[in-house]
């Protein structure tokens, strides 16, 4: 699906990531974690084909859709029209979306449980709804690879759960490949099978279960993470425990 070899990414003149190699099979999910400014967004933009890399290659089969970090998009369109824009790839310059395109858009709105909002104005939606509409738009473009830049950063906990449940479902139903960046190691740990951990001096790639450890998180973020087990030790969570004690102890 996606093969990245010897990739070097820079922003302006600053070199961010050097010699990154990984492979991603179809239907898998890759998490990208790392502190601010380490190059997560830059990496995702290169993978999405929006920016060029300095060296190395990104080879992929199929089409890619990219959702930026800031979905505070201003558009007067209604939700259905917004989702219909996903068909742009398939329409010649003189064509307008027809009833088949409309059906495709409605199908994905239904999958995202947004069909009741089809005629609402996009601007009036909440941040979480906007994000789901844009995912529906990406799916309407029949993408095989969906890249999301910090999709959970603007969402409350319930919407975060909903988003990841939907992404998981899409992976299974449509064998969609998903790449997302996040600041929450638990999201990466529980929803991804592959992981890229970016630090300022080095990076780690591999299976999520293998490389996601509290030691590595501590090294990369330079804060204290503890492992916490739940459900008779079957579920592992990472908890951030600040080294400086809180002002009031309970």
């Amino acid at each position: 699906m996606l093969t990245v070899s010897n990739l070097t990414v820079q922003r302006g003149k600053k070199r961010l990531i050097q010699n990154l190699d990984f492979e991603l099979p179809q239907g898998s999910c890759l998490g990208v974690v790392g502190p601010n400014g380490v190059g997560k967004s830059s990496l995702l933009r290169v993978l999405a084909g929006l920016d060029d890399s300095v060296s190395g290659s990104v080879v992929m089969s199929g089409t890619v859709a990219y959702l930026p970090q800031d979905v505070n998009l201003k558009s007067d369109l209604n939700v259905l029209e917004m989702v219909l824009l996903g068909r742009a790839r398939y329409l010649k310059w003189y064509q307008q979306p027809n009833s088949l395109d409309r059906k495709e858009a409605e199908k994905w709105l239904q999958v995202m449980s947004l069909e009741h909002l089809a005629q609402s104005s996009f601007m009036t939606l909440s941040g979480g709804q906007k994000q789901l509409v844009l995912i529906a738009q990406a799916l309407t473009s029949e993408c095989n690879l969906l890249i999301l830049d910090e999709p959970s950063s603007a969402l409350d906990l319930q919407n975060q759960e909903k988003l990841f449940a939907i992404l998981n479902e899409l992976q299974e139903v449509k064998s969609l490949t998903v790449i997302f960046s996040t600041h929450d190691p638990n999201h990466a740990f529980h929803f991804c099978n592959h992981l890229v951990m970016l630090g300022f001096s080095k990076h780690y790639c591999g299976s999520c279960q293998q490389i996601m450890t509290s030691q590595l998180l501590n090294e990369i973020y330079n804060v204290n993470f503890e492992e916490f087990f739940w459900n008779e030790g079957n579920l592992k969570y990472f908890v951030h425990v600040p080294t400086s004690l809180p002002k009031t102890q309970r």
């Binding site: 998009l73 558009s75 742009a88 310059w93």
Partner: protein
């Protein structure tokens, strides 16, 4: 149903009023008779009335409507592509280029068709200048485009001043100044034949590109990620806008404000997608221009320049719309 009937009534009444009233008054019946005579000579008519209506007012009305529709659609398309409601056709520099071409044409010759061709040609030249300035390493951002538009605009406005400076103050200078303020007084069938089809074809193509303007409106990265060739589509829209603007300036001189104001009116009546919005803007623009030109002809015994009335009405109206929009 009743509402639709009302719109049809307005759509018919405005042009009929425009054509029948003026310094030389004629009745609606006269217009009817003239139209019937076109197909089958039946009625006896005053030759002067017939000539005024057929050779002056009807071509003038057609020119005004075509130009109004074109400018309004241009404004709408540009506001969509730049995702900025404060942008009008004057921003991309074509206006100033065409203005220079027209002024130069008047300076070097009496021939009005030379003026027309020069205006059109220099409109295109101004756009090419914008293209050269704005495109950096094969890519144009929206910001550099606007800046390049300002550069091109200022450059050609300076050239216009230069032409005015060297023009004969008794003869050429008033002609240039008057032409720059815009007017449909010199409209003729020949001019419509020359420029009308170009404007209408470009307008039609713009409407078809409405869906792509919606995608461009999302921003470059988003549009690119949806598989749209951003550069190619944006320059196509800008090219069509250039053809329309250069065409309008070449027949009517510099007419500001229409492209900025009308899309805002259209948003109240249309669905928000650009396909509908461009059609609505075009229709409203056509009638808006007709009303404006009617005022130019009728407000005083002397004809008031078009640019004066469009700005006098457009500016306060735009301020009102803007406040209302911000208020909601």
């Amino acid at each position: 149903m009743l509402k639709k009937l009302g719109w049809v009534l307005i759509a018919v009444t405005i042009p009929v009023l425009y054509i029948t009233s003026g310094q030389l008054n004629s009745s609606v019946a006269d217009l009817g008779k003239i139209l019937v005579n076109l197909f089958h000579p039946t009625f006896e008519l005053d030759a002067i009335v017939e000539r005024v209506i057929l050779l002056i007012r009807i071509p003038r009305a057609l020119t005004a409507m075509i130009c109004g529709a074109g400018l309004a659609a241009c404004g709408c398309a540009l506001q969509g592509v730049f995702a900025n409601p404060l942008i009008g056709p004057q921003i991309i520099g074509v206006y100033s280029g065409a203005a220079f071409g027209g002024a130069l044409g008047i300076l070097i010759s009496e021939n009005s068709f030379l003026t027309l061709s020069f205006a059109f040609l220099f409109g295109l030249v101004a756009m090419i200048l914008v293209f050269v300035v704005a495109r950096v390493q094969g890519y144009t951002s929206r910001l550099t485009l606007v800046l390049a538009g300002i550069v091109s605009s200022s450059f050609f406005l300076a050239l216009v001043s230069m032409v005015k400076f060297i023009a004969d103050p008794d003869d050429k200078l008033p002609a240039i100044t008057y032409w720059l303020m815009g007017s449909f007084a010199t409209a003729s069938y020949t001019k419509i034949q020359l420029v009308g089809p170009l404007i209408l074809i470009a307008l039609f193509a713009l409407i078809i590109l409405g869906y792509r303007i919606d995608v461009l409106n999302l921003g470059d990265d988003h549009a690119k990620s949806l598989g749209l060739k951003v550069e190619r589509n944006r320059w196509s829209v800008l090219g069509l806008v250039t053809v329309i603007c250069a065409g309008v300036v070449s027949v009517a001189g510099v007419v500001g404000w229409v492209g900025l104001v009308v899309p805002h009116i259209a948003r109240h009546f249309s669905k928000p997608n650009h396909f509908s919005l461009l059609i609505t803007s075009g229709c409203i623009g056509a009638y808006y221009m007709l009303v404006i030109d009617y005022l130019c002809r009728g407000l005083s015994s002397m004809e008031i320049p078009l640019g004066v009335i469009t700005a006098l009405i457009g500016a306060p109206f735009f301020a009102y719309l803007l406040r209302r929009r911000l208020g909601s």
